[in-house]
Amino acid sequence: MYALVDCNNFYVSCERVFRPDLNGRPVVVLSNNDGCIIARSNEAKELGIRMGEPAFKIADFLQQNQVAVFSSNYALYGDLSHRVMSILGRFTPELEIYSIDEAFLGLAGLNVDWEDYGRKIRETVLRHVGIPVSVGIAPTKVLAKAANHHAKKGRGKQGVGVLDSPEKIEAALKELPVDEVWGIGRQYTKLLKAQQVETAWEFRQLDDDWVRRRMTVVGLRVKKELEGIACLEMELIPPAKKVICTSRSFGADQTDLGPLEEAVATFAARCAEKLRRQRSCAGMMMVFLHTNGFKEDEPQYAKNLVFKLPAATNSTIELARHARAALRVIYKKGYRYKKAGVIVMGIVPEERVQGSLFSGVDEAKHAAVMKQIDRINAKYGRDTIKIAAQGSGEKWKLRRQKLSPCYTTRWEDIIKVRV
């Protein structure tokens, strides 16, 4: 059996851990730069607030309905996510962290009452971290996802959905819209709806050959999983990333080269950190920037540059130097830039990197410096030490006007207890 554990309205729930007064009240969390709604409490959903809605468009509505609004606080969400995952890890050694708020648990060999077991997972996470979760338990990962959906829609018992018999599976799949099936994307939904397939159950009735022909072996695997035949493995160790991207929309549009250089140097530094964390180096880089496509009355410009690095590296100094040089090539005066980014590719394990005679870089020296930087930043907080090219970020950094305190990651932000 497999369980899928999913945190309910995760970002909102994180804010509520430290603000219990917000329980039962409408709460929303905004995307980077306080742009769109990306998380809603159930009360906010009931008010009709839609996912992805631009916050400025409904500012009056939010105020009239006394909706609590937060900027996204990823330091807080990341910490609480780690806590949730480490508790789930106590239930099974087979834990696949699927996203910041979802994980699969492999439960092979257990012989327990599944309803009880699901409830125990739920209660443990709630008691330790204060985050409510829904639990779906079923013979395959795709069915566990369906069971979770079932639980969320209030069909399961207290946030726990168990599909452990053919009858229960049939009933749940008949209620599950086909586009809610894990692994069925928008294209396949269109194809299936054209065949009058509306529910997961109807999809399961299709002919295997037809599914393989029209939806490849991937679609067939989803169908088999819905039949209760497990064919998706647990991914216990996340595969090393093949492409790493760091990009941001700016808090305010940028016109000058200076702040843009600082921004891409910072993005390059983030890429370098991510590379070092997975012990790999990048051999290629892409730098891009563009104006705000939504402002149709303004002149538009978008450009990127892809190039090979002289030698594969994960040195912040090297990556930032190349990123700035590339930016100077593609930057044009006279535009208002909204976003820039750095993507590193051609990623190889650190130990497979061959020094280049011509790069003129002392790799051993760089590696030693980076190690010390990572050590100090891990201890005293990100960017305690950074390279000068990153600048202060004053001009371009994110707009986060409604940021909650970083209760768990900054000493000055821990909760104040009145006695």
Partner: protein
Amino acid sequence: MKLKLFYPNQSSELALPAVGPLSAGFPSPAEDYLEAVLDLNQALVKNPSSTFYGTVKGNSMTEAGVDDGDLLVIDKALPYRHQALAVCYLDGEFTLKRIKIEGQNLYLMPANPTYQPIMVRAEQDFCVWGIVTYVIKKVY
């Protein structure tokens, strides 16, 4: 400093005592007996995933050894038991008190004679948020 809260199941890095430069002739007799140095996290944080910190503001609990400015180690997962120091959430604020139940009434008890017990009314927004396991006090 401490506990990288980003990774709650990972205790802080344990520094190993330095061995000194290895001499070819006489290996240090202590080398076989090296142990990890003592880490306060191990002593003070039993449950990393449910442990949070708080700072004390105020003086109503001085006789329980809790003074203004102290650092609290709070475990959210522990159940309340008699005489425990409970971090409560009452009307939009965290507060630290002992809890007394008399008949139908719940009281928050101070530990300072100049303060009065607080009766929690049913309509008030109240919960026990966590239990204090350690009070860390700067004394020098």
